[in-house]
Amino acid sequence: MTDIRDGNGLAAAEKLYTQYGSRARELKASGKKVIGYLSALGPVEIMTAAGVLPIRLKGNVSEAISKGDAYMETIVCPFVRNVFDLAVKGKYDFLDGMVLPHQCDSIDRTNETWSYTLGLPYWHFLNVPHVTDDPSIAFMKEILRIFIRTLEKFTGKAITDQAIADAVTAHNNNRKLMRELYDLRKSNPPLISGSEMMKVLVAAMSIPVEESSALIEAVTKEVKERKPAAANPKAKRIMLIGDQIDDVAVIEAIESTGAYLVMDDLSTGSKMYWQDVDATADPVQGIAERYLRKLKIPTTFVGSADTYQGILEERFGHMKKYVNEFKVDGAILFIYKYCDPYGFEVPAIKSYVEAAGAPVLYLEDEYSTSSLARVKTRIEAFLEMIA
C-alpha cells in the first residue's frame, strides 16, 4: 500500500499516478473485487456501497494503439480506443468487471466490443438518459436500481440503503476536500501547479474513497506549508476545458511556456468534484439527481431557460464563475477528434467563455503525445497573442 502521511502526499500521488492501478492490484490480491468504469457518469457511491473498489480507467497517451484496432474502429473516440487497447493488452488484468455508463456513442456503440473481447466476469451497461426532466429522473432511479441488483448478484451481498447513504457521505467529503485543494490554485502564483494537480486527480480516482480523501488531505497540508513564491507578472492564468484529460503531457506543454494552469473544466477534474449528492430519504434519488441534473457534461441535454442566453448560462455558467474566481486570463478548449458531444459545443463554449473575459484557444487532437509538438506551438502562439 502506498504510504500516505503528512509531508508525502505529493510523492504518494506521483507514485499512484505513475503506477496507475497499483493499489487496485494490491487490493485484488487481498481478495477485494475491483470494478473499472469509464467517464464521470460512473456512480461511485453505489460501487463503494457494494464493497468493491471502483477504479476509473485511463489510457496512456505515450503508448501507441497496437492491439485494440483489430477489434474497434478508428472512428471511435481516441481516448476510448486507447483505454480499450490497454485493456486488451492486459494492463487492467486485475479487473473483476466493468461498468460502461451511457455517456456517448463511442461508449454505447462499442459496448459489445468491450464486453465480448474482454470477457470479464461482471459487465454492466448503465443506460443513463440524455435529458433531465422528471420522467428521466424516475427512469434514472430505475436503472440505478437495476445496477444495484446486478452488483448484489455478483458480490453475493445485499447493498443496503444505509451502506449507500454512508458511501454518499464519504464521496461528498472526498469532493469537499478536493474543492479545498482547488482553492489553493486561486493565489498568484497558485500554490500547486497544474501538473501536480493532475497527478492528484488521477491518483484519487484509482483508490478507495477513504484513501483518496487521506491523500487529498495530505497533499493540501503539504501545499499549504509551501512558502508563496513571487508571481511572474507576465505569466498568464489558464483554464483547461475538455473531457478526460488524465495525463500531465498537455499540462506540461502549457506550464513549460511559463503560464499557470489554475483551473479546469475537465471530467477528471472540477466536473467530478464540484457537485455533491444530496442526502435524500431514498439515497438513490440523490444519486440520480446528481449524475443527471448536477453534472455539467455535454451528453446531458440542458435547455429549459426561455432565452438562448439563459440556456447558455445553464450550460456554461459555471465556467464564467471559474473565470472570475480563479482570475483566468485565457482558456484552452481541448477536444478529442471524433467527439460529437463536445465537438458540437465548440462555437457556443468559445463565444460564451470569451464573452466572460477569457480568450479561448480551441484545439482538436488525438489522445496521444505524438502531436504534442504541434499542440505546444499552438499554445505558445495563443499565449503570445493574449500577452
Binding site: 483489430a70 477489434y71 474497434m72 474502429e73 472512428i75 471511435v76 473516440c77 451511457h102 456517448c104 456513442d105 463511442s106 454505447d108 456503440r109 462499442t110 459496448n111 459489445e112 466490443t113 465480448y116 473481447t117 459487465w123 454492466h124 451497461f125 443506460n127 438518459p129 440524455h130 435529458v131 426532466d133 420522467p135 428521466s136 424516475a138 427512469f139 430505475e142 436503472i143 437495476i146 446486478t150 455535454p298 451528453t299 441535454f301 435547455g303 432565452t307 438562448y308 440556456i311 477536444i335 477528434k337 471524433y338 467527439c339 460529437d340 458531444p341 465537438g343 458540437f344 459545443e345 465548440v346 462555437p347 457556443a348 468559445k350 463565444s351 480551441y362 482538436e364
Partner: protein
C-alpha cells in the same frame, strides 16, 4: 460549381417516384408559412413523426437534406461553412452539412442560399431532438444549430430500449422503458401544443398510428418479395424506397407507395425479371449508411452479377404481429411498445446462440431467409452511431455462424473527400473473387 453526377438508374419504376417524395418534403417546409403551418427540424426513427403528422407540423428532415446535398455532390460548401466556425470535419457530416446551410441562411436573413440543392429547406419554428441509444448528434445538432437560430426553441426527448446483456432478461425491463418512452412522448406532445397553440387530436393520432402499423406490415411484406431468385429489387433501390417509411410514416402517400411497389415486385417475379442477369451472388448489406454520393457503386456490383436482396440499413420496421405488442388504448404507449420491441426483436434469438449478439442474429436471419453468399458493411468515418461496432459484428458473424466472405467498405455519408472510386472498385473486385472461391468450395 458543384460536380453533377448522373443519377443512378433504378431497377424498379416505383422507386423513380422517390425524388418527388423528397422534393415534396423539402418544399413543404418552404410553403408551410403561407399555409399557416409550423415547421419542426426533426429526426427519423425516434417516435415523434406520428405526433407531428397528427398535429399538421411539417417535419424538416435534416438527414434527408444532407443526403440530397451529398447525392448531388454539392455538400462541400456547407461543410466548409460549418468548419469555418470550428465544427470539426470529424463530426457527423449530416449535421455539419445542415448547420453550414443554416448558417448561410441566417446570414441571408432567412432567405434560402442561392443554388441550394432542390430548393433547400425552410427555417424551422422548433427543433425536436432525441436522446437515443444510437445517435448523439440527434440532440447535439439542434443544440448547435440554436447558436445560429437563437429564437428557435429546442425540445429534446429520450427514447431508450433495454441494452443487450446476454445475462439479463430484457423482458423484465421492458415495462420501465415503455413507461419512460411514453412519458417522454407525452412531453413532446405538450411542447408541440405550446408551439402550435393547438391541442392534440387524440383520435387523429390513433388513426395515424394505425396507418403506420399498416405501413410497417406492408413494407415488410413487400421487401420479403425480394427473397425470390432472381431478386426483383436491390439495396441500390432500397436506399431510395426507404424514403416513404422513413420520412413520411403516418401518411397515406407512404402506404400507397408500398402498394405500388408491392405490385411491381410481384409482376417482376411473375415475369422472371431480376436485378442482375445472370444473378451470380446474393449479398446482404449488413450495416452502415451508404455513401450518398456513390450510390452508383450498387450498379457496379450489379454489373458483375452481384445483387443485394436484403439490407439492415433503413429497414427500420418489422411485421407488427411478430412484435407481439401488448394491447393499449394510448397511441403514445403503442408507439413506445412498437419501438422498444423493434429494437429488442433479435434479443431472444441471440440468447439461443452462445457468443452471438442481436445485431448478428438479425444478419444471420436475413442471410438464411434471403439465401445470401456474403456480407458487405460500410463504415462511414463521420458517424459513430451506425458504424462503431461493425468490426465486432463482422467478427462475431464469422465466429458464431460461418466463415462467409465479408467486405467492410470505408467512406462517408456526405463528405466526398473520403471517397476514391478506383480504390473502391478494386476492393469490390477482390471481394467478388473471394465470393467466387467461396461458392466453388461450397459446391
Amino acid at each position: 460549381m458543384a460536380e453533377e453526377k448522373k443519377g443512378r438508374a433504378v431497377a424498379t419504376s416505383t422507386a423513380a417516384k422517390i425524388p418527388k417524395f423528397v422534393r415534396g418534403n423539402l418544399s413543404a417546409t418552404l410553403k408551410a408559412k403561407e399555409e399557416g403551418k409550423k415547421v419542426a427540424a426533426a429526426f427519423i426513427a425516434d417516435g415523434q413523426d406520428e405526433i407531428m403528422r397528427a398535429m399538421d407540423i411539417v417535419p424538416a428532415w435534416g438527414e434527408s437534406f444532407s443526403g440530397v446535398c451529398a447525392a448531388k455532390r454539392d455538400a462541400e460548401k456547407y461543410l466548409q461553412k460549418a468548419e469555418s466556425d470550428n465544427f470539426s470535419r470529424s463530426l457527423c457530416t449530416y449535421a455539419t452539412c445542415n448547420i453550414g446551410f443554416d448558417m448561410m441562411r441566417e446570414e441571408l436573413g432567412g432567405a434560402t442560399p442561392e443554388g441550394a440543392p432542390w430548393g433547400g429547406m425552410g427555417r424551422p419554428d422548433m427543433m425536436l431532438g432525441n436522446g437515443q441509444l444510437l445517435c448523439d448528434p440527434r440532440f447535439k445538432w439542434p443544440q448547435a444549430t440554436q447558436h445560429y437560430q437563437q429564437d428557435v426553441p429546442v425540445f429534446v426527448t429520450n427514447m431508450y430500449y433495454p441494452p443487450w446483456d446476454p445475462n439479463a432478461d430484457h423482458h423484465e425491463q421492458e415495462a420501465i422503458y415503455v413507461k419512460y418512452a411514453t412519458e417522454e412522448l407525452r412531453e413532446t406532445v405538450k411542447f408541440c401544443e405550446k408551439i402550435t397553440g393547438k391541442k392534440m387530436d387524440w383520435d387523429r393520432l390513433a388513426a395515424t398510428v394505425e396507418l403506420s402499423d399498416k405501413t410497417w406490415d406492408l413494407f415488410i411484406d413487400t421487401y420479403e418479395l425480394r427473397k425470390h431468385i432472381p431478386t426483383p429489387m436491390d439495396t441500390g433501390d432500397a436506399m431510395n424506397t426507404m424514403v416513404p417509411l422513413t420520412f413520411n410514416l403516418g401518411t397515406q402517400e407512404a402506404y400507397d407507395f408500398y402498394v405500388d411497389l408491392n405490385a411491381e415486385l410481384k409482376q417482376k417475379i411473375a415475369d422472371g425479371v431480376g436485378v442482375a442477369n445472370p444473378e451470380k451472388y446474393r449479398i446482404i448489406w449488413a450495416a452502415g449508411l451508404p455513401s450518398w454520393f456513390a450510390l452508383g457503386d450498387f450498379q457496379y456490383f450489379n454489373g458483375k452479377g452481384v445483387v443485394f436482396p436484403v439490407e439492415v440499413t433503413y429497414r427500420g420496421c418489422e411485421k407488427i404481429e411478430r412484435l407481439d405488442l401488448p394491447k393499449t388504448n394510448d397511441p403514445l404507449e403503442h408507439i413506445a411498445w412498437r419501438w422498444v420491441r423493434y429494437w429488442t426483436h433479435w434479443y431472444d434469438a441471440a440468447k439461443k446462440r452462445p457468443g452471438s449478439t442481436p445485431k448478428v442474429e438479425r444478419i444471420i436471419e436475413y442471410i438464411e431467409d434471403y439465401k445470401c453468399d456474403g456480407a458487405v458493411f460500410h463504415s462511414a468515418f463521420s458517424c459513430r452511431s451506425w458504424h462503431a461496432g461493425i468490426m465486432q459484428q463482422a467478427a462475431t458473424l464469422k465466429k458464431v455462424y460461418k466463415d462467409i466472405p465479408i467486405l467492410i467498405m470505408e467512406g462517408d455519408i456526405v463528405d466526398i473527400s473520403s471517397y476514391n472510386e478506383a480504390d473502391t472498385h478494386n476492393r469490390i473486385d477482390a471481394f467478388i473473387e473471394t465470393l467466387a472461391a467461396y461458392k466453388k468450395r461450397q459446391g
